[in-house]
Symmetry: C2
Subunit: 298 residues, 2 copies
């Protein structure tokens, strides 16, 4: 069965443009989101919607899940009846960021109905979703991967088949978040030490951004740490959650992750200080609370 | 006094090409190194040498110190008599990686003799030293900086005046090492978690190197973590030392540095496991000791 009809669940900041990219590649897409406003936006853009997840999934050959977390994925598949509504032999593509262990459990439940399951989390943010340039980290048996490939190619231009076993894609995404979270926190730690010595933060990030000390996050988030209220690209609480998933994955695999654990504490502290909804560069506030920025800061 | 004659102490892998770049810019350079072989190499390359640090410094208008650490800098300046041998009003340029507090102490002793002191550590490695493309992080009063500027421009193309107070250059270099050390360790931590789940390390670094999870160190050191015996670009024990300097600077400034502290433990463990002289990507061995790489690693 070649996939031509797709149910797309989760029309958020990333889901909406991803569904739109599938439509542009001539797939028949029926979208659903719990929020009426998200469904209305898709209709306004010329898309199809349904009144429930099960109605969207009715007879579809693929189901893409771009929901918030694993609990929502389970709810859509099992409680709302989307799984049973799909065509027999259909392919479920889970693209939300979920703990690897939960992905394995969901995969078992899906494949037990004779359908395919593809673990396919993404990175690249809203920009990547809009441009169809997402990185997609796919784990699935070869035949399931082959069925999903044309669908994935419509949404991302860096599609990696990282393993045969569902949960391995989620692991790679987890590792991605481990690196991102630690890189943001360590940029804040570096700034904190430099400011204690009266070094100008802007010059610091200019020097570090052009040296072997650079990271993508340092160049992106560093300058925002110098703003009092940067626009929220991604919130502190996203890393409270995602580094939590990282540490849960470490527990499940019995892997010690000392740097991820320390970084998680700093994001937790920033959230506890009241910055949970602010831009994740605000993790610097946790360092500032510990290491007061001197008043005579240059 | 415009600087035309320079004593250059410390003709190692970086010092030798830096001295050579000064000669190419028409400075009169007299080099000295404790190792006879290093002096002989400079002579073979057409350079001038002297039999002692004091002899090299005799009447020179500037003294560049590219020695191993602060103890060697003190020994050359104060015990070997190089400081007193310099012309009155000469400029001492300390380019070795030293703890900020020690740089302040040395600066005081130098300026008490009426001479200038310029704190000017570098980053960019042997490649930057050879190409004259070093990043130089300079702290000195404006008049001292102006005297040293033409000398520094001969060795680096990114010369930043980070502050007026000696020790601030060393702080920026310290912050640079904080970032580099944590970025290497977290790349190893990421690999360690991924390999537990049977993810191929080569593919992991390919995906991460092209995403927001990337760092300069991840792209450079990551692939080397997959080699059993990579050539030694910089040794594990260099980061045992440099992250030690980072933590000493944190103690002196009363700045909590939780990520740097955790990374230091991993480099210490790698050294304790017998890998101190191996390439710093071998910090992955400390993670491997903690989180055994499964035998069925994909």
């Amino acid at each position: 069965m070649v996939v031509t009809s797709i149910a797309f669940i989760g029309l958020g900041a990333m889901g909406a443009p991803m569904a739109e990219n599938l439509r542009k590649r001539q797939f028949r897409v029926t979208g659903f989101d719990m929020r009426e406003s998200a469904r209305a936006a898709l209709v306004a853009a010329g898309g199809q919607t349904a009144d429930s997840a099960a109605a969207a999934a009715e007879g579809a050959e693929a189901l893409v899940l771009m929901v918030v977390n694993a609990a929502q994925a389970r709810s859509v598949l099992f409680d709302a009846g989307a799984l049973e509504a799909l065509a027999p032999g259909a392919t479920v593509i889970l693209m939300a960021t979920c703990p690897p262990g939960e992905v394995e459990t969901i995969a078992d439940a899906v494949t037990n109905t004779g359908r395919h399951f593809v673990d396919a989390p993404v990175s690249g943010g809203v920009k990547g979703a809009e441009g169809g340039t997402l990185t997609i980290m796919v784990a699935a048996p070869a035949d399931s991967f082959a069925k999903a490939k044309p669908v994935l190619d419509a949404m991302g231009d860096k599609v990696f088949h990282v393993g045969q076993k569902p949960g391995q894609g989620a692991t790679v995404k987890t590792v991605n978040q481990l690196l991102c979270g630690v890189h943001i926190a360590v940029a804040a730690e570096a700034l904190s030490l430099a400011q204690k010595a009266g070094i100008d933060g802007k010059m610091l990030f200019e020097i570090m951004g052009g040296s072997a000390a650079s990271s993508w996050m340092l160049r992106d988030r560093g300058p925002r740490m110098l703003d009092d209220e940067p626009p929220v690209a991604s919130a502190v609480d996203i890393f409270v959650k995602d580094l939590g998933i990282v540490l849960d994955a470490g527990r499940a695999a019995k892997a010690a992750l000392p740097l991820a654990a320390a970084a998680h504490q700093m994001f937790l502290a920033a959230s506890g200080l009241g910055h949970g909804g602010r831009d994740d560069s605000h993790v610097v506030r946790a360092y500032r609370a510990l290491n007061r920025k001197p008043d005579n800061d240059a």
